[in-house]
């Protein structure tokens, strides 16, 4: 490593006012875009690419990285405050972030999400700086078999996110895996389960409208019902935010989750085709499996928020690794960044580390700066964000519903997606009502197509010989990890059930009047 060049590149980026300004503008825009359900980091980066045409490479990449990092954190704001992940990467944050907000700890949850996102992003950036060649070669070893086992490992956290009833969690998961097969089968091009003329489902269930329906619409339906019955107050909540960063006591509790999440995010982010959503769920599963208090997960524990947010932001650094060292984008955002590099006459890849090492280091520095900008913008905004839930419910709920439906429309600019969001809203409402967890559906909608297409590709290559998967060392590692994750999850679930029985949870009084 050329330390002199590294330090001078870092200093150059940090001292360039144009780059600093662009990174901060990008981070502010990213936080805003990420917080609106339906708008993703990819969309934000794609929207602002034309603005970067006239800039030099480093400020333009800084602007785009600012949006990327900002949107990753922004997604958690709506996940925590209104039970709707702003981006798919924040889907796992709902599980503990929203219960924290319900307990009157919205400010604490947001500050933990912000701090964890920042630390996760820094871990990702450090991994990118020092481990790029190593991780890139490992990422390149991922073929269909390895991708299938990665998806299988991701699915192994289902029990951990199933809540009280594992059977109901597994029913949700298999229902999700089943509906994930709707649409055109990627291997043979065969249409499955599609009624004639329903073109909107050819590409499968549109994921973001489904996410908006399951979380935003379902939550609004349930809240309206509860308010009408008098089970929930419609009055505004007054929330005082005393601090914009977590307390030392919180940091002492979450630092292990942040570290693990950041590393998981960096590694999974480096694998082309896997991103922040998968890494957040995997990190959540690992955090719950290794926690001394697994029973607190899903009830609003800071560890859950820290694990997911550090992992999805760790991905930003991870996804840059194959982009810079191999010229292969790690996710859709880095695919657009690849275009930005090429437009500036730079071809990312191994030769970039030989010919343009100063540019590589400048990009590393821009990513670090983007995370710092996200932290500052986030700190400045926490008090403002928490005002959202201070609005009266009878005004807030209709606004959330309409804005979410516009978000569902915006992703493909197709009114069919609004219908999908409403159907999933109804499904989510009924599932929530009868205590079926929603997160397994979301996880399986992400991982179902990934696991099926890679499994079938692998079987096609190996002519149907499944057992050759044991000759792939990475697959064996993932198999061991999956088994360990399942064993830990089952063990934890038994512990949770035992604690629930001891505390008398088995005899909960009637929930509502019939």
């Amino acid at each position: 490593m050329n330390w002199d060049l590294l330090l001078s590149s870092y200093a150059g980026v940090m001292a360039d006012p144009r780059t600093v300004l662009m990174v901060f503008l990008g981070a502010a825009g990213g936080v805003f875009i990420g917080a609106i359900p339906g708008l993703t980091a990819t969309m934000g980066v794609a929207l602002l690419i034309p603005f970067s045409f006239g800039m030099d490479l480093v400020p333009s990449v800084g602007l785009l990285l600012g949006i990327y990092c900002g949107a990753m954190y922004g997604g958690s704001i709506s996940a925590i405050l209104i039970h709707t992940p702003g981006t798919p990467a924040a889907a796992a944050t709902v599980m503990d972030g929203y219960p924290m907000a319900q307990k009157g700890e919205a400010g604490r949850a947001l500050s933990i999400a912000l701090f964890s996102s920042f630390c996760g992003g820094i871990i990702g950036a450090i991994c990118m700086t020092f481990l790029s060649p190593l991780i890139a070669s490992a990422a390149l070893a991922f073929g269909p078999a390895e991708m299938f086992m990665l998806a299988f490992f991701g699915l192994s956290v289902i029990i951990a996110i199933s809540g009280k009833s594992v059977v109901k969690g597994l029913m949700s998961a298999f229902f999700g895996l089943l509906i994930a097969t709707i649409g055109m089968d990627k291997t043979c091009g065969y249409l499955r389960f599609i009624p004639k003329g329903v073109y909107g489902l050819y590409e499968g269930i549109p994921f973001i409208p489904a996410l908006i329906g399951l979380f935003a619409a379902a939550e609004v339906f349930s809240s309206v019902e509860r308010i009408a019955r008098g089970e929930q107050s419609s009055a505004k909540t007054t929330l005082k935010v005393n601090r914009v960063l977590p307390s030392w006591a919180d940091i002492r509790t979450i630092w292990k989750n942040i570290l693990t999440g950041g590393l998981i995010g960096s590694f999974i982010g480096a694998i082309p085709g896997a991103g922040g959503d998968i890494s957040a769920f995997v990190s959540y599963g690992v955090a719950k499996s290794t926690s001394r208090h697994p029973e607190r997960f899903g009830q609003g524990t800071p560890e859950g928020v820290a694990a997911t947010e550090s992992a999805n932001n760790g991905c930003s650094g991870g996804a840059m690794i194959p982009l810079l060292s191999l010229g292969v984008p790690g996710d859709s955002v880095t695919a657009i960044l690849l275009g930005a590099f090429i437009m500036k006459g730079i071809q990312p890849g191994p030769m970039m580390y030989v010919d343009k090492l100063d540019t590589v280091y400048a990009v590393f520095a821009a990513l670090l700066l983007a995370n710092l900008a996200m932290l500052i913008v986030g700190m400045a905004g926490i008090r403002f964000f928490t005002k959202i839930i201070s609005v009266e419910k009878k005004i807030l709920l209709p606004s959330i519903l309409v804005i979410s439906l516009v978000g569902a429309y915006a992703i493909n600019q197709n009114v069919f997606d609004v219908g999908v969001a409403l159907v999933f809203g109804l499904i989510g409402y009924l599932m929530q009502k009868y205590e079926f967890p929603l997160s397994p559906i979301l996880l399986t909608l992400i991982l179902g197509p990934l696991s099926e297409s890679n499994f079938r590709r692998f079987m096609q290559i190996k002519d149907g010989n499944f057992f050759s998967i044991f000759t792939h060392p990475i697959c064996v590692v993932f198999m061991v990890l999956s088994v360990a994750s399942l064993v830990f999850s089952v063990f934890n679930q038994r512990k949770i059930n035992r604690l629930g029985t001891e505390s008398g949870d088995g005899e909960i009084p009637p929930t509502q009047e019939g």
Binding site: L47, V167, F175, L178, R192, V224, R229, A410, T511
Partner: protein, 160 residues
């Protein structure tokens, strides 16, 4: 007086529903095209998932007969005030979906917001009118000018 339903009863219904969904999906896969030289055809994954869904639905069904849980199940009765409000909200947004292209956002959204606020229990008419119009215009301008997304405006489409 009708006896209130318990959670085990609701689980039984959910179990039967799961078996029906899984069974229907499996039956549909039997008519999928068979491909030559494809070791894992398009029917295999849905079949595995259908069988797994049926299996766990059956487990829930059996469990429901042996559980000591006696909690009252949430109702779906149309006589319930909460259900009525929820169905009103659903009806309004379904109407919004159906009229999305023809009536357009600028006309539809303030009406929908106003109706939803009324159903949610708001009664401060002046504030409700101002907010319905304000939120609509801010969201529309934001999507159009900042995010370059044109939401259909129906008869007002000439604005774009």
């Amino acid at each position: 007086m009708k006896k209130p339903r318990t959670m085990p009863f609701a689980n039984r219904v959910a179990g039967v529903f799961g078996i029906l969904i899984g069974g229907t999906a499996y039956w549909m896969t039997t008519s999928f095209k068979q491909f030559i030289n494809v070791p894992v055809g398009p029917e295999v994954f849905p079949q595995i998932m259908s069988v797994a869904l049926i299996l766990f639905s059956a487990i829930l069904l059996v469990q429901s007969f042996f559980t000591k849980d006696r909690r009252r199940a949430p109702t779906l009765s149309l006589r319930d005030k909460g259900m009525q409000r929820m169905l009103m909200v659903l009806g309004i947004v379904v109407l919004m979906f159906l009229l999305w292209d023809t009536v357009g956002f600028l006309i539809l959204s303030p009406l929908v917001l106003f109706l939803l606020m009324t159903v949610s229990g708001a009664r401060n008419w002046a504030t409700m009118i101002i907010l319905s119009l304000g939120i609509t215009i801010v969201v529309w301008l934001l999507f159009w000018k900042v995010l370059v997304i044109e939401i259909p405006l129906g008869p007002l489409n000439f604005i774009y």
